[in-house]
Each structure stands twice: as C-alpha cells, then as structure tokens.
Symmetry: C3
Subunit: 254 residues, 3 copies
C-alpha cells in the first residue's frame, strides 16, 4: 500500500485541480487521515484546514487560507476533496475489488451484471416469505418461481438477503449500493444509484425510484412506492407512498 508518488502526479486521476499551493518538490508515500498524518502523508479536508502533519492535503477550492498555511505543505484545491482523494487512493494506493465473496450464496435464477460486489454470507435468490392461511388455520407457502436481476456496478455488503420474485423478478438497478444486514423482499424493484443503508427492511413489491437514500434501520411496508431523490430517515417506518424529492422520517414516517 505504500508507494512513492510525486505530488503533482497525484493530480492526474483527479480530473480537475483548481489551484496548487506551496511546495511542488515533494513525494508522498501513504494516504492517512488528517489526525494520523506524518510528513509524507496525503490527506484530505472538507472544510477549513485543520492542523495536520500531512505533507499534501486535498482541500476545497473555497478554502480560505493564509500563506502560512502552506509554508511546509502542498495544498491541492479541488471542487470535491473527498471525491478527489478517492480517485487518488484508487489510482495509486488501493484498487477496489469487484467480486462475489466465496461465502456469498447465489441461488438459481439470479442474473448478475458487471463490476458487481457481493460480500460475505449474503444470500441472493432465497425464497420469499409468502404464505396463505388454509381451512385449518395453518400456512401454505407460495411457491416462488421468479428470480433476481442485479444490474451493473451494484455493490452489496455482508449478511444481506435479497429474495427472489414470486412469479416475476426482484430487480436492483445500475449503480445502487446496499450495505450489511439488509432484507429485500420478493418482487422489489430498486432504481438506479440508490443508497440502502444497513439493516433496512424493504417489503414485498416495494418500488424505489432512482437516486433515493434509505437510512439505517428504515422499514418500508409491502407495496409502498418511493419516488426518485427521496430520503428516508433512520429507523423510519414508511407505510404510505412517498413522492419524488421528499424527505420522510419517524414512526410512522411523515
């Protein structure tokens, strides 16, 4: 993970550098946080510059600075310091590994796109939880014959469960990220570039639009429709449809 990189070469994968302040005769060898930095660290800072030993700091182009702030440093000013740091990390220090962990269980009728990560002990394509009470008061299971479709660039954490559809499919669209211990029930459809945080429950036949954000531990009731660009708060219990762009939270969510 340690490599010697010339400070201006760090800019190459960033895509845009608004300004370089300070010394340009420097090498960095390790990415660190501001707190744990040493003289040859590269680090990043979202707001005002904090005291740090890091030699190179990626900062916002809106940074207010004094000349003394960079007398022993190199500051790279960019639009989005965290995004620039991610790209520097990925280019020089740690590539992301896209793969299906060997302990993930991929059941039959599951289609998985490109650059998809499925981490440990996650189960995709398990049978949904559909029952009907019979004349004797006991439950008969609905035979699930559908599947699961996972599109490109989806990433799924550990110990998550995605059930297959009953007659159709459960679908996770392009670029959506799902964390650990999530339950996604049968026939759910999650749109593109959504964030589904840890321990969420997404009920049967729920539809979530694109670019929506479901915070940790949220519960979405069966058959609810969540629009595009929606934010669902932590631990919210969503019992009704949510329109595009809304923010809902609480029990029940409003």
């Amino acid at each position: 993970m340690q490599r010697q990189i010339y400070c201006l070469k760090l800019c190459e994968p960033v895509g845009e550098i608004v300004k370089v302040l300070g010394r340009i005769d420097r090498y960095v060898t390790i990415p660190t946080s501001l707190d744990n930095a040493i003289y040859n660290s590269i680090s990043f800072c979202n707001g005002p510059l904090k005291p740090t030993k890091a030699g190179v700091v990626v900062c916002s182009k809106d940074l207010t600075y004094l000349e003394s702030d960079y007398k022993d440093k190199t500051l790279l000013l960019v639009s989005n310091p965290r995004l620039a740091f991610i790209r520097i990390m990925e280019a020089y220090f740690q590539e992301i590994d896209y793969s299906i962990h060997p302990t993930a269980i991929i059941k039959p009728n599951v289609t998985i796109g490109e650059n998809v990560t499925v981490d440990a002990n996650t189960v995709i394509g398990s049978s949904g939880f559909g029952y009907e009470k019979n004349e004797l008061g006991s439950f008969e299971k609905f035979p699930h014959i559908g599947g699961v479709i996972i599109k490109n660039n989806v990433e799924i954490g550990c110990n998550t469960c995605i059930d297959k559809g009953t007659l159709g499919n459960t679908i996770i669209k392009e670029g959506t990220k799902i964390n650990n211990l999530v339950h996604i029930a049968h026939n759910v459809e999650i749109g593109r570039h959504c964030i589904i945080h840890a321990q969420c429950y997404i009920g049967g036949s729920v539809k979530v639009g694109d670019y929506s954000w479901i915070a940790p531990g949220a519960i979405i009731r069966d058959r609810v429709k969540i629009g595009n660009n929606v934010t669902v708060g932590m631990g919210a219990v969503v019992t009704k449809d949510v329109e595009d762009g809304k923010i809902v939270f609480g029990v029940p969510a409003r």
Copy 2:
C-alpha cells in the same frame, strides 16, 4: 417448470371449485402474474378481474362478472383464489423443497421435526447473550446448557439466529414461519402457526401464543408474554404483555 395441463385438471388439487366459466377446451403451460400473462398462462386475482392475457384465471366466488369477461378465458371461481393458485403451483409447477441448507449451522442440542426448512447461513442453537457483572465491573457469561426444539412444518429463512436456552429450551412450535435476519433469544417459546417477519427481535424468555403475527422489525422485550392471535405492528417496541387478539404498534407499543 413449463408443463401442459388441461384446464379442468387444474381443479383437482384445489379442493373446491364453486363454478367454472368460459371455455373448457384449453391447456395451460405456465403460471404467471396477471400483468405478465400470455394466452396459455394460469394466473389468479383476489378482487375484481383486471385486464390480462391469461387464458385461465382463478377468481373469487364473489366475483361480479359479465359474459364478456370470459369470452376468451376460463375462470375458475373458488373461496380463496391465492390458496387455490398455491395448490395448483405446488401440484403441477413447483414443489416446495423442505430441507436444511448446507450452509445453515445447526449446533448441538437442537431437535428438528419433520418438513422443516432452514435456509442459508441461519444459526440454530448458538449460545444466548446472558452475562452478569462481577466485582470488577466486567461481565461473566452464563453457561448455556439448554437446547432448541423446532417442531414439524416450521420454516426458517436466511441469516436468522435462534439461541439455545440457558437451562431449559428455546421452542418453536408447529407450523410457525420465521423470515430472514430474525433474532430469537434464549428460552423463547413461540406458539403454533405464527408469522415472525424479517428483522424481528424476540427477547429472552418471551412467550408468544398461537396464530400471532409479528411484523417486520418489531422488538419484543425480554420476558414479555404475547397472547394468541395477536398482531404486533412494523417496528413496534413491545415492553408489556399483550392479551389475546390485540393489535399493538408504535414505540412503545400500545
């Protein structure tokens, strides 16, 4: 999964057909939802008949219909369309598989009945979470020497945990269905034909009666008694006993 079945033969496993409307010279080859149906599909419909291409539709005996509704279809009228459809599926298209998934962990002192399903990565018989603070303020673990008893026709999803009893047993009675990511603590007793939805927490020594329904993400506090035919709402936090037949929800549940 595709087979050619004569439409009146579909009635055999249903147990009761109130009326057959429309053509009886038809074969079906595939079960589908109403939306995805093709001309040789069998489908079902709980309320009023929706437009569909399905050749055979299982409907309610209370259906209000016109002659034109079945001019190119076969309608099978029954008391419970979903239950009838389940039985047709099970008889002709997809048998339910009762089995212990090879990645489920069944620890010692676990007794499992007949026709039981335990799906992937579920752990049965793990040690309960019982500790006592000692003179030094650190925790000493209660040695759990009990077991788990799973009765006939119980079905358990993926990534669920059922802890063994401390000195006695944790018991799941006949016909109860448990979904994914559920935690059932030591010494719990769940009655017959209950539904325990995904991500529920059932605390130590909780007793649940028969035919009760615990919705997703509900939390039942240690030692609480839940009666028969109780419904606990989504995300409810149940801190007090609940009498037979009650519906409770909210935080704390009322």
Copy 3:
C-alpha cells in the same frame, strides 16, 4: 454435563458464601432452573425463595426465610446468586468455549486479542459503506485501507458485521460483549465492558465510552459520541451526543 458434586464443595469457586442453611450431607448432579428442578439439582433464586424441588439453591444474603424453607434443602446465601451460580456452572458443569467459529469470516488487517469468541457467520473487517457522488450522479467507493482491533475478552455473536476503518481502525475494547446481527460501521470505537445487544446499528466513527449498554435494535447515527455508563433504550434512534451516565430512549432518543 452430569457430575456428582458435594454441596459444600460447590462453594469453592463462588468466592464468598455468607451463610449455609439446612443439610450439608448432600450431593448435586445437575444444574437446572427452579421450575425444572429435581431433588439433586442445584438452582438459584434472585428474590424470595419460590417453591422448587431443587436440593441446593443459591439465594441472596438478604433472603427472608423460615426454618421450614430449608428443612429438606441446602441454601447457600451469597451477595449475587446469579454470579455465584455462573461460577459453579463454569467450574463443575460447563466451561465456556472461547474460540473463533470456523464459519466466521476474519478479513485481512484484523487483530484479535486473547479469550475472544467470534460465533458463526460473523464477518470482521469487511469494507465500510463509504461513497461519494461524482459529476455523473453515480457513487464512487472510498477505498478502505484501515483494519479492526478486537481486544481481550471480547465476545461477538452470530451473523454480526464489523467493518474495517477507512484510513484508521475500528476498535472494540476489552471485555465488551456484542450479540447477533449487529452492524458496527467503519472507524467505530467501542469502550471497555460495554453490552451491544442484537440488531443494533452503530454508525461510522461513533465513539462509545466504557460500561455503556446499548439495547436491542438501537440505532446510533454516524459520528455521535456516547459517554461512559450510558444506557440506550430498545429501538432508540440516537442522533445527538449522550453524556456520561445518561439514559436515552425513543425516536429520536432523548
């Protein structure tokens, strides 16, 4: 698990016996609860003595008793009956097994101390859930290069996930106990001798002090600081820092 132990020899591992009442010419062979006891059981009782067939009962030194209460029993009076019973169990009937279950996944950069238990299907050192939206509205993953440090005497249940740090480490300090289905995000620091109950969500960079108690299903928001000796209630959603010694509950927690 059945052994023949002389009743006064039971006292040896307890550390302190305030008084022995009744017969001392007795052997016990099995630890049981008060309810399931037989004549040669050893059991324990926290409050007033309940009717039981147990030959030996570990009771509180504050027990109010009549001579008839121990005419056919041996009562061992101690400060903490449950703790004394744990020590008797551990010494004579069932040793606690400290080990990493073979199905637990320990990823690279994880350091584990002594006497640590990690139970089935738990994942330690998985990549955290950190993303940044790019110019196209899709997410780029923060490459996590940190690790996880688990100190001595930590116990972790089944199907739990502990993510590694982004640039630093996720740290679980000495003696802390973590139950099943818990999510601990990147860069979290949990203090010494805490209890983290099942299905809790501990968000990224959260700090928890020593001797704190997080009840089942609680959600602690990213970057929140929880002090020492704090109690967080069942299903609480904690969005703000909590000072030492406080009890918080509800959604949001107060």
